[in-house]
Amino acid sequence: MFSRRNLVTYAIALLLVLAFNFLLPRMMPGDPLMAIYGEEALVQMTPELKANLVERFALDQPMWQQFGAYFGALFRGDLGYSYYYNAPAFEVILGRLPWTLLLVGLSLVLSTLLGIVLGIESGWRRGSKTDRSMLAGLMALNGFPDFFIGMVLLLVFGVTLGIFPLAGALTPYSGLSGGALLLDVLKHLALPLAALTLAHIAGAYLLTRNTMITVVKEPYMLTARAKGLSQRVMKYRHAGRNSMLPVITRTGLWLGRVVTGALFVEIVFSYPGLGYLAYEALLARDYPIIEGVLLVVALFVLVANFLADLSYPKLDPRVSYAR
């Protein structure tokens, strides 16, 4: 199924991500501690604490030992200490991660599914009114950045109509539980999710529609018609199934874009995910958090690509990693 060679490729990518994350603060001019912890943190630091930190990051050791120490720290889940949040960076990030996962995961699934379905419907009746209006609409939508769509949604549904809350992921201090809590979460999620989904639907749609247009001309579609199958079966089981293949491959790659999009959309909605965290950290120059978020996002994309690779042969039996 999945070859060793592919695993090695992923391992190399992972190592590169780690090395980059390791080298970035150390390549900055001046004291690496300052780069790692930021100016303000350094000012407040006692000499003992400083010595402690130097030892912890092996800053007085050669580069490769520093890397070893860094690697070891990572292994222990040590991403450094956030003076702004007054907590280990790892814990801060871990606390925010679920919200981003929820937002990114759902919007990725939704935009891909909707994009595929719309693409199938559109490509099936290529040149029709439905197809042309769908194409024009989604192309236009594709032109707007996600945070802009988010702002428009916020203004219309949050500010003007007041249907959805303006910020956050939960109503603070509401003490809700069970179904009411779920509803509250969904209400807060709706607008950022819609913004992110709308912004990314066009990619999947265009790709599916394009493939669909070539697939409907394939000889096996003639076979399907000759077999007296219903429209629905021809459209989805035969044509659609083949048309979604390239979309699935691309989903892994899109994830990077969706995650970046999420960072901005979270800022617009003050949604307490990684993006908003990075934003706060950036304002506070909380370097451990920024670097931690960077690392997590990079890992995120890597894992998503890996999953897409794993699922691809299941969708397209012609793809075999057997060699």
């Binding site: 003639l222 018609r225 000759a226 007296g228 219903s230 079966v233 199934r241 039996p317």
Partner: protein, 573 residues
């Protein structure tokens, strides 16, 4: 079961089918043959009503006119009453579903059985078509071409339809899998009605009860398979057969002149037909019944160019030719084979009017030849055995070739020179300068014979009587001259009476053979039949003594010994 009436299909302005009439009875297998572009696939798809273009006419399947049905009813008929084995199995199967799923799909979707029952049936079908059970869960790309074809066949059988249409079912397969698939189809054909579309004539021969030849969107010939293949009556069918490589016919392959073009006024084949006359370019011939066959030809199929009836000739008490009857079709080579003294040359000379027959007569295009005036020699020309003797050594090459035109008084001097030069080029001789001025004695044997052929052909005759035309030539030159004659036949539709004592030579150039012994025709028939299973013992002895390349040292060896294959290969060739 299936009746098609005046089916016309067009894609936009392009008319692909121009009025097809066909009938297929239940249990019968009809093969539709023809070049690609003839509209065969369109015909298949029209029956399933899957063509993109517009269709007119009627297609009755079990009495129901498919062309008038709403799409929904047609959907129910598809695969239940008529299914199809598509061309190119590889792309006709959906790459992302297992073959089992694809075979059981029509059963489930037409609600003929539950999923479990459908799966059981599909597995059974796949087993019946010879796909090993462990392959049924495979995806199409994991199967070989032959296996994919089996899957397509199993799929076509899924809903047990009365009619199965097969579009080039074996054309993408190698010879071994082809034979297997054909055997499988033959077995299935026992209780199904087939329409097989193919350009592979051997598949048609093995499967079909009837054969329809299609050309440019029309049926031009339709008849029982064995008869159509052994004695094609439409010029196009014969041309197809001549172009088809096979182990049965012995004559060299011949192409079909020109290429298919549409639209053509009149008979679509007339630009490529060698016996076309004025009316062929004006009116489209209808498909009419003619002697157990349907033919669409203004001339009633391939015409009999020359008929010899009960011809006898004696010299005193010696009967050189005894009541000989022979037919030569337009565009055909008839080899007259026999040893020297058997009366071949006498027969030829009698036909040419150089000798007067005692009895019987000669008919050219159906008319009895009574006197041989200029117009007879415009149609019938002869090439003699020894060009050194038959060419006047007082005339130059140009004069020799031009002479028949001078005699006939055709055109101006200028035009005659031009025509003579063109004919010289046609026989692959230089048509310029010194060569035109040279005299026969300055030429080689091969060149002389070519000049003799050019002289015979310059009048553009319909029949060439060639009496041992190559016996004075060495084999290399002989082969070239024979190729030349065959090419001329392909281009001009020349008929030939090829007189020779050499059976091995005759089989390479002739469609039919007549064997002559002591002034009588003792056997005649298709060349392959005469050579492979001679009826008369004399013919048998001719076959025995004909040249073959067995060497003496190998003659007594058993087949197992090395060299056996090479040897048998050579005798076949």
């Amino acid at each position: 079961m299936l009746r098609i009436k005046d089916l016309r299909v067009s894609y936009g302005r392009e008319q692909v089918l121009n009025g097809i009439d066909l009938e297929v009875k239940a249990g019968e297998c009809l093969a539709v043959i023809g070049e690609s572009g003839a509209g065969k696939t369109t015909l298949c798809l029209s029956i399933m009503r899957l063509v993109e273009g517009t269709s007119h006419g009627h297609i009755f399947l079990n009495g129901l006119d498919l062309l008038s049905l709403p799409e929904q009813s047609m959907r129910e008929i598809r695969w239940r009453q008529v299914s199809m084995v598509f061309q190119n199995a590889n792309s006709a199967l959906n790459p992302v579903h297992t073959v089992l799923d694809q075979v059981m799909e029509p059963i489930v979707e037409h609600r003929l059985a539950s999923r479990a029952e459908a799966q059981r049936r599909a597995l059974q079908l796949l087993a019946n078509v010879g796909l090993s059970p462990d392959r049924s869960s495979a995806y199409p790309h994991q199967l070989s071409g032959g296996e994919q074809q089996r899957v397509l066949i199993a799929m076509a059988l899924a809903n047990n339809p009365g009619l199965i249409i097969l579009d080039e079912p074996v054309s993408s397969l190698d010879a071994a899998s082809r034979a297997e698939i054909v055997a499988l189809l033959k077995q299935i054909a026992r209780d199904h009605t087939f329409v097989v579309v193919t350009h592979d004539l051997s598949t048609a021969a093995r499967l079909a009860d009837n054969i329809a030849t299609m050309y440019a969107g029309r049926i031009v010939e339709l008849g029982p398979a064995a008869e159509v293949l052994s004695r094609p009556r439409h010029p196009y069918t014969r041309a197809l057969l001549r172009a088809y490589p096979n182990m049965t016919t012995v004559k060299d392959l011949q192409g079909i002149k020109g290429k298919m073009s549409r639209p053509v006024a009149g008979c679509a084949f007339h630009p490529r037909c060698t016996q076309a006359i004025g009316v062929c370019a004006e009116k489209t011939p209808p498909l009419v019944s003619s002697q157990g066959r349907y033919l669409a030809c203004h001339r009633g199929g391939i015409i009999t160019l020359l008929a010899i009836r009960n011809l006898s000739k004696s010299f005193g008490s010696f009967k050189a030719v005894r009541s000989v009857s022979l037919d030569i079709d337009a565009g055909e080579t008839l080899a007259l084979v026999g040893q020297s003294g058997s009366g071949k040359t006498t027969l030829a000379k009698t036909i040419m009017g150089l000798l007067q027959p005692d009895e019987g007569g000669v008919y050219l295009e159906g008319k009895r030849v009574t006197s041989r005036a200029k117009d007879f020699y415009r149609k019938v020309q002869m090439v003699f055995q020894n060009p050194g003797e038959s060419l006047s050594h007082r005339l130059s090459v140009l004069e020799l070739v031009r002479e028949p035109l001078d005699v006939q008084g055709i055109g101006t001097r200028e035009e005659r020179d031009q025509r003579a030069k063109r004919t010289l080029e046609e026989v692959e001789l230089p048509a310029s300068g010194g060569f035109l001025e040279s005299y026969p004695h300055q030429l080689s044997g091969g060149e002389m014979q070519r000049v003799a052929i050019a002289r015979a052909l310059v009048l553009n005759p319909s029949l060439l009587i060639a009496d041992e035309p190559t016996s004075f030539l060495d084999p290399g030159v002989q082969a070239k001259i024979l190729k030349l004659l065959l090419n001329l036949q392909e281009r001009r539709g020349l008929s030939m009476l090829f007189i020779t004592h050499d059976l091995s030579l005759a089989r390479k150039v002739s469609d039919r053979m007549a064997v002559m012994l002591s002034g009588e025709i003792i056997e005649q028939g298709p060349s392959n039949r005469v050579v492979s299973s001679p009826v008369h013992p004399y013919t048998g002895s001719l076959v025995q003594t004909a040249s073959a390349l067995h060497s003496e040292s190998e003659a007594g060896e058993t087949v197992d010994q090395p060299g056996a294959e090479a040897r048998s290969g050579m005798t076949i060739g």
